[in-house]
Symmetry: C2
Subunit: 129 residues, 2 copies
């Protein structure tokens, strides 16, 4: 799994980590049951501080992507409370949808974009690697 940090990005480092790990899980490069590197290992690997990695892992735990175990570290464990996930998604895409309506992006175009993104993750093996 290739993790890279962009130190020039205005996105917080721990959020970059979180997002890339979510992408990794979505594309199947990280599978349920896999252990993520220890906070110290990953910190050294991407040249950031241990606590920044720890924060990323904490967010992932809070969002139901991993379980933090003292023995095995951060283990990918997908807890899917659909109602909660849909509620989170609703808030995450609300502004994007409003912008689309404002800017005259039709519903079909939004669907096309959504499908494109969705398939990019769901069919990763077929298209890449």
């Amino acid at each position: 799994m290739v993790l890279q940090i962009d130190f020039n990005s205005d996105e917080a480092l721990y959020m970059q980590l979180r997002n890339q790990i979510i992408f990794g899980i979505a594309t199947g490069r990280i599978r349920e049951g896999d252990s993520l590197p220890s906070v110290r290992q990953l910190a050294e690997y991407v040249s950031i501080n241990m606590h920044t990695v720890n924060k990323a892992y904490s967010v992932l735990r809070e969002e139901g992507f991993v379980k933090l175990d003292r023995r095995r570290g951060a283990v990918v464990a997908l807890e899917s409370d659909k109602k909660r996930v849909l509620e989170e998604m609703r808030e995450e895409i609300a502004v994007a949808m409003a912008k689309a309506v404002c800017k005259g992006i039709g519903r079909e175009e939004v669907h096309r974009l959504v499908d494109e993104m969705y398939d990019l993750f769901a069919n990763w093996e077929e298209s890449m690697e």
Copy 2:
């Protein structure tokens, strides 16, 4: 137009303002050509500082929702560079789509949610007010 600030939210005040104004435009409660309140008026109305409102307006200008005119203040003017808008949306919904794939939310369910949000804005008059 009802604007409200949640001082307990972890979202920046100027972003709350920006989002609510975008919602207002999407739902047609604010129309193209309308003038937004002056930074000082709006600041006093929602009990925040003038510069915070100014920042919200600046972001809206940068994103092509308003034009700032010395005479008329912030005027709603929707500039729609579709390529740019779609590119912005792609980044905004990427994580949400990845989370959906991770958590086993099917493409149809995502479509349903998207439609729900989209129609909430596009058909505001029919459902509310």
